[in-house]
């Protein structure tokens, strides 16, 4: 029995039967202002039972199968979700590990770069020190050489000018008397050297 028919019967028993009241101005009447007549209730209830029975008999397996399929689908989706979650967690773990590896690698690279930079810096400083020392040594040598050269050139210039001065003085002072004295001196010296 359908819920609607049962409810109608209970209400009919509880509520007193009403007097016939006119339905409209054309003279149609009803037994109760709210409930249908009993036979209509019976027929409707029966029809409802039949319909619900047929529905239960024929539609129930389909509905059950539908619910079952739906449940299975949901379960499958849950399983898939769980699997996906597991995969995602695995992936997350892997990513975290990879991130950790990356962090470690980055740290290692940073450390290696720092070490290389330090080594380069140390090497560069050492090389610069060597080059500076070499440059200083070469500069000292160049300065010494330039000083020696300048001194040599100065000595040569002094010698040249001194020679010129002596030559000039000699030329100015070598008058005929002196020339004759030099010649006589030569003759005397050669003659005495036999």
């Amino acid at each position: 029995m359908s819920l609607l028919a049962t409810t109608s019967l209970l209400v009919a028993r509880v509520l007193p039967a009403s007097e016939e009241v006119p339905f409209d101005d054309k003279g149609y009447h009803t037994e109760h202002w709210l409930f249908a007549p009993t036979w209509e209730t019976i027929i409707a209830s029966t029809a409802s039972i039949i319909v619900f029975g047929l529905l239960y008999k024929f539609a129930s397996p389909t509905v059950k199968q539908s619910f079952k399929d739906r449940t299975e689908g949901i379960q499958k989706e849950l399983d898939d979700s769980a699997a996906a979650k597991s995969v995602a967690e695995t992936e997350a773990t892997r990513i975290r590990e990879a991130k950790g590896d990356i962090d470690a690698e980055r740290g290692r690279l940073y450390a290696e770069a720092d070490a290389q930079a330090e080594a380069l810096l140390t090497d560069g400083r050492a090389r610069l020190d060597d080059e500076m020392a070499d440059l200083e040594a070469r500069s000292d040598a160049d300065i010494d050489a330039a000083a020696d050269r300048s001194a040599d050139e100065l000595r040569a210039e002094i010698a040249r000018y001194s020679s010129k001065a002596v030559e000039r003085i000699a030329y100015d002072t070598l008058d005929n008397t002196t020339q004759q004295e030099l010649i006589e001196s030569f003759i005397s010296r050669v003659g005495a050297s036999s």
């Binding site: 020679s163 002596v166 030329y171 020339q179 030099l182 010649i183 030569f186 003659g191």
Partner: protein
């Protein structure tokens, strides 16, 4: 110029001078001209310039020596210059002097002074050099202002140098 060619010219000049009987004079004049040629850039350039015709160069020689040297000397120098051997003139003359000295059993003594030597000085210097070297010498006196003062004598490979120039050079070397 090869030594043989120089010797050939020297022998020719020697024979001409000896044939003319003016060997001593020609030898002396040629020697002095050769020294002048060596010390004068202008003379050397004039006599060796191939763009100047040979006749012109010979005329320069005749102008320079005319009245100052014997005709034989002038003709011999003119002959050497005209034959285009001006560059070898000093070597030819030196060879001639050597040849003439050898003919007289003498060694050549080349003496350079800043001022000219008197005949007396030449005689005394020759005697002093002969006394010093033990050789009979044919003295050739050259006035060379570059020696500044004093005397330098060259006898073969022997050089007796007492010039102011050499002393200045030695002083410069020491400096």
């Amino acid at each position: 110029m090869s030594d043989a060619r120089i010797e050939g010219y020297a022998r020719a000049l020697f024979e001409v001078a000896r044939a003319e009987g003016t060997l001593d004079e020609v030898e002396d004049e040629l020697f002095r001209f050769a020294r002048s040629y060596e010390s004068s850039d202008a003379l050397r350039n004039a006599l060796t310039d191939e763009h100047v015709p040979a006749e012109k160069r010979q005329a320069i020689v005749e102008d320079l020596l005319g009245g100052k040297a014997t005709p034989t000397t002038i003709q011999l120098v003119s002959m050497v210059v005209g034959s285009g051997r001006s560059r070898e003139l000093p070597a030819i003359v030196d060879s001639l002097v050597q040849r003439a000295s050898s003919a007289k059993q003498l060694d050549v003594a080349e003496v350079r002074t800043a001022v000219a030597l008197t005949a007396d000085q030449q005689a005394r210097l020759k005697a002093a050099l002969e006394n010093s070297t033990g050789k009979s010498l044919n003295l050739k006196a050259i006035v060379d202002p570059t020696v500044l003062g004093g005397v330098v004598a060259t006898i073969g490979d022997t050089v007796i140098d007492d010039t102011v120039r050499t002393r200045i050079d030695q002083l410069q070397s020491r400096l």
